[in-house]
Amino acid sequence: MTTPRRAALATWLGGVIVHALLVVALVAVGVFLIVRLVPGDPAQMVLGLKARPEQIADMHHRLGLDQPLWRQFASFLGTLVTTGDTGESIAYHVSSRALVMQRMPVSLWLIGCSAALVVAISLPLAMTAALHKGGWIDQLVRVVPTVTLGMPEFWVGLVLILVFAVTLKVFPVGGTQPGIDGMLYSMALPSLVIALAQTPFIVRSLRTRILDVLGADFVTTLRAAGLPERAIRRHVLRNSLLPALQLYGMKVSFLMGGTLVVEQVFGLKGVGTLLFSAITARDFPLIQAVAMYCALGVVAVSVAVEIAGGLIDHRVRGRAAASRGGAR
């Protein structure tokens, strides 16, 4: 009895992972092409217009541009697969991968904390708004986020610093502090800035969906059966979660390379600032490394969202297995 079920589950999970690997492969090709697609000569761009021809030739050699294209790709892929690296950074003269890895923890902390805040803010707000549809709470929940959405992140960040760090002195002005508690302490304000920018979309999607579900027949059945309100809400919430989860997955994907502003405002050494300096310095190997690891992050998030979706809704698993030619 459990064997076909396990098989279906394995088909689904296998499909998700194969899908992710395909995306990673495509991204690798794209990242490889970054250097070739840049208009003009990348070596010239790195060295400037006054560079001597032998310097240019030397840079061509370092970037591997003097090789035929297929060999360039082969060696790029070879290094990427074996060492996870994209070559030595031109500006820092160290492994690009090491540079990215050094910055990754701060970015992951930032995104993780903001995700937790988004959930903590969105679920109760959307539920309350939907349950009091048309009431003043609902209006407030719908209007206030739109206002904060109109304010740019750097400004919200500065206001939060001014209020909570300078005046009230409850959170640090910027930077990071050691240890898990230190990290949480330093991430409070920056992750709040990111969360505030994301919650309006999530709350809206969730509220609409909750209203739909509240009108569904099965809610009437549960009410008629005399279940307490909190039990009914559990059913409603679970049925409302999927669209918001998928929306959030997309939002977080944008976030992977997009925490730059927040990192700047709070003086955090994350991937965003690294990417910024890499682009300014035309540090192609480093740009490739950042792009590659951000893409890996995005793929990891979408896999996580897919799996979470499958845990919430069994039909997601079934559909995936069926559409990927699973045994059904």
């Binding site: 009108g215 099965f218 059945t221 008629a224 005399g226 307490p228 039990a231 059913h235 049925n239 039909r315």
Partner: protein
Amino acid sequence: MTALIRVRDLTVTARATGATLVDGVSFDVEPGETVGIVGESGSGKSLTLRAILGMPPAGVAVAGGKGGAAPVTFDGGAGDADGTGDAPQARAPRMAMIFQDPVASLDPLCGVVRQVAEVIRYRQGASRRESRARAADLLVSLGLPESLRGRDRYPDQLSGGQCQRVGLAMALAVRPDILLCDEPTTALDVTVQRRILDLLADRRDRLGLTMLFVTHNLGVAAHLCSRLIVMEHGHIVETGPTARVVGDPHHPYTRRLIDAIAHIPEATR
């Protein structure tokens, strides 16, 4: 004998338009009786049922007669039709309802045993484990496969008829005195309809349920009910024992409903 359900001047209006959907309907239901409310869509029969349950749909207002008397009362106690009055819970009979669309009436993301078990847990005060076992017993006794004991199924993995059996289990898990049925067989195949009707009759007789059965199909109602109430445009146009209403209809609308039951032409028999 005193009536178990007493409906007096029940009026339901649409809040938005002010249109009267149920217009001063009154009737009694005695303990152990099965009463059918028959009429076409828009006759107000389902609204009447929902008003009795105390869960009118959004956008309608329920009112009683003059002097603010409660439109629905039970067993002598005060009714709780609009959900605001405080009914004497100790004396009020327990009600449960089964619905028209059996699949949509179940949470699609929740296994059916779990759904029934949840009702048992909250309404009968059983432990998680105990209520799960009782839920599986109940479902199997209502004709669902034994395999449910080992492994739960989601509503979309069951047929419409099986889902309606689950719906009945959800209702019976409340341990009701009164079972309200809102077109429970309309969405089902004809062959399945008959089996569900027989199951309902069987449970009613075994558990001594009082039943209110809403349908647009006079044939289905006649199969199950001892007394019929015929409704048209929010009014009761005819009421009486089933045999009398079907055999000797007084109102032209009732006659039309009887003619609407499909007959197999003599020639093809």
